[in-house]
């Protein structure tokens, strides 16, 4: 009887030891297999403004409210127009800063007089909710100096960016840390 028990005991030991080895194997194999594919720096999400179709998903789909994706301004490209397609609603009677004339639903664009006939438009990022209406306006009727970018101080860098998931033109992609932004004016030159 004692021998019998011994046999079972040793068999059980063998099974558990073998199991341990088999189970431990992936813990070694996976890092080895991924050794070449591992990077010490992280990833960030980036919008390619040249692909963006200003669909408005950035405003509604980001996990942050307001969205981490905001409008930025490439001043070097801007025409400093008096009648700005990104600032004024289409078909306004007179050009003014009146709220009903503004395209931006949250009034996040500041219009400042520079010199005749130029006006500077500045995005107030605290207010901007990333609806991209001004980007569309500026792209359709202006120089396209307003464009969308993901602000990385707000972005929580989700594994699966929920804007990217629904971005119709696949303009959002995962890029290495160093390439966080595509600055439209610099890219052009």
């Amino acid at each position: 009887m004692a021998e019998e028990k011994n046999k079972y005991q040793s068999r059980r030991d063998f099974v558990s030891k073998a199991g341990k080895l088999i189970i431990a194997a992936p813990l070694i194999i996976i890092p080895v297999a991924l050794a070449k594919k591992t990077e010490t720096t992280g990833y960030v999400w980036q919008i390619d403004p040249f692909k963006c179709t200003t669909c408005g998903n950035c405003k509604t789909n980001c996990v942050m409210t307001p969205s981490a994706s905001k409008c930025v301004h490439a001043y070097q490209m801007c025409g400093y127009c008096d009648l700005c397609g990104g600032y004024q609603r289409q078909g306004v009677k007179n050009i003014s800063t009146a709220a009903e004339n503004q395209l931006c639903p949250v009034g996040a664009i500041d219009r400042e007089f520079v010199e005749e006939p130029y006006f500077q438009y500045t995005i107030n990022e605290d207010l901007c909710d990333g609806c991209a209406k001004c980007v569309k306006g500026c792209g359709d009727f202006g120089n396209g100096s307003l464009y969308m970018q993901i602000k990385h101080d707000i972005c929580v860098n989700c594994n699966d960016c929920s804007i990217a998931r629904t971005c119709p033109s696949n303009a959002i992609s995962r890029v290495p840390e160093g390439f966080s932004y595509i600055e439209k004016d610099k890219r052009k030159k």
Partner: protein, 425 residues
């Protein structure tokens, strides 16, 4: 200018990219005053150095939890550990980075050449598994923020009927198989998308997510840790690794006297009672049953593989490219215009339909290759589950079921045996 507008829009629609590059409609102004162009504000991400702080916190928390669960045997300490992890990984780090989601990064990196995995994500995947292999599921006990939030809200445990528990406990296996399949084919990150508590951590989420999370927490008041037990895909891996744990938390600090006081203490049904009084079966019979059940494993594996191979086209519907291609094809066949944003963007972008359909075919083929493996995994898991039912072990003491036990320490106070620590003697 006004007359030219429709043409500009037309050209814009025809070749979006070309127009974008040549968008300078208005000359840049030549300022007469000394106007300076404002600087671009492009803030950077939290420094990568902080990721290593997260990693250090993870390892530190795992070591402390292990010490609290195995050595100190302090339920109070484990609770405080949960509070800390919930505060740090949950509310401060807002649920990202987390080990549960890292499964997908690993599978994406294993099967896709374009993606390199961040070192932190790889280590967040590996380290809790190493700890599970050494000390059991200490990660669940006090480090995982998802576990912590449920542990802290489970006030009134109710026991589920065994059958319900067993059926529900198979859900995580399916969830894991699908999550790995979808991320391996670069389609979607299922686990992150349906993470129930991340909305609560960020205090901001779509209402569906909040409702799901709150409902889970409400259910968790009675059926403790519902996400961990019946959904968590990473828990499947921890479960398997923990079964082979070198050292594991014990209910009693010394020798079990079979007093049965701990019997009903575990809300997770993870205490294996001693069964010395059980009538033993004829070894001949149990051996036959074992062999029979063992033969079921390859059968289930083949059946699972076959089933999932046939499911491949349906499963590939989660991929956005496949969905878009289906919509465009539907438009062509039925004449009903496609109106989704992606369809509109596709038309604007000027990609050809042939290209799109070729991409769709490629992705579906990837699914055809990958999904049988998901089925095989599920078949084998089911088979091994059945075999384990046929094995009857003699136990002379009450001990935790190493696969199911979260090392939460709720059973400690039920054990009447106390061991005086050496400094008290």
């Amino acid at each position: 200018m006004k007359k030219a507008l429709p043409y500009i829009i037309l050209v814009l629609l025809l070749c979006w990219h070309a127009v974008m590059f040549a968008q300078d409609r208005f000359p840049r102004p030549e300022f007469e005053t000394d106007y300076v162009y404002p600087e671009h504000q492009m803030p950077t991400q939290r420094a990568p150095f902080w990721q290593y702080i997260d990693l250090a916190v993870l390892i530190g928390a795992l070591i402390v939890t292990t010490w609290l669960a195995l050595k100190k045997r302090s339920r109070q300490g484990l609770l405080w550990m949960s509070v800390f992890s919930l505060a740090y990984f949950g509310f401060y780090r807002q649920g990202c980075i987390c080990s549960v989601g890292s499964v997908q990064n690993v599978s994406l990196a294993l099967f896709n050449d374009g993606y390199t995995i961040p070192l932190t994500a790889l280590l967040f995947f590996i380290i809790p598994l190493v700890f599970a292999l050494l000390f059991g599921r200490v990660f669940c006990a006090g480090v995982c923020p998802l576990g912590a939030i449920q542990e802290l809200t489970g006030f009134a445990p109710v026991k589920l009927p065994k059958t319900v528990d067993v059926v529900l406990a198979s859900v995580p296996f399916v969830y894991l198989a699908l999550a790995v399949l979808f991320s391996a084919t670069n389609s979607t990150f299922l686990i992150c998308r349906y993470d129930p508590f991340v909305g609560i951590f960020r205090l901001d989420a779509p209402y569906t997510m909040i409702i799901f999370g709150v409902l889970l927490l409400l259910a968790g008041i009675f059926v403790n840790r519902p996400y961990c037990r019946y959904l968590c895909p990473y828990g499947v891996l921890l479960n398997i690794f923990s079964r082979f744990a070198g050292k594991h938390l014990t209910i009693t600090p010394a020798e079990c006297t079979n007093c049965r006081l701990c019997e009903a203490s575990c809300p997770y049904d993870a205490i294996l009672p001693s069964n010395t009084e059980q009538v033993s079966e004829a070894p001949e019979r149990s051996r036959k049953r074992f062999i029979l059940y063992f033969l079921f494993i390859p059968l289930f594996a083949i059946a699972g593989g076959y089933l999932f191979k046939n499911l491949a086209p349906a499963l590939s519907g989660v991929n956005s490219t496949v969905r878009l291609a289906r919509e465009i094809r539907f438009e062509k066949e039925s004449g009903i215009e496609a109106v989704t944003k992606s369809a509109l963007a596709f038309k604007e972008a000027g990609q050809t339909e042939a290209d799109l359909f070729a991409q769709e075919e490629f992705i579906i083929n990837r699914f055809r290759k990958a999904s049988p493996w998901a089925g095989i995994f599920l078949g084998i898991a089911l088979g091994i589950g059945m075999v384990s039912l046929s094995i009857r072990r003699r136990r002379t003491e009450y001990k935790p079921d190493q696969g199911k036990c979260y090392s939460c320490g709720k059973c400690f106070k039920y054990c009447p045996i106390k061991v005086k620590s050496s400094n008290e003697v």
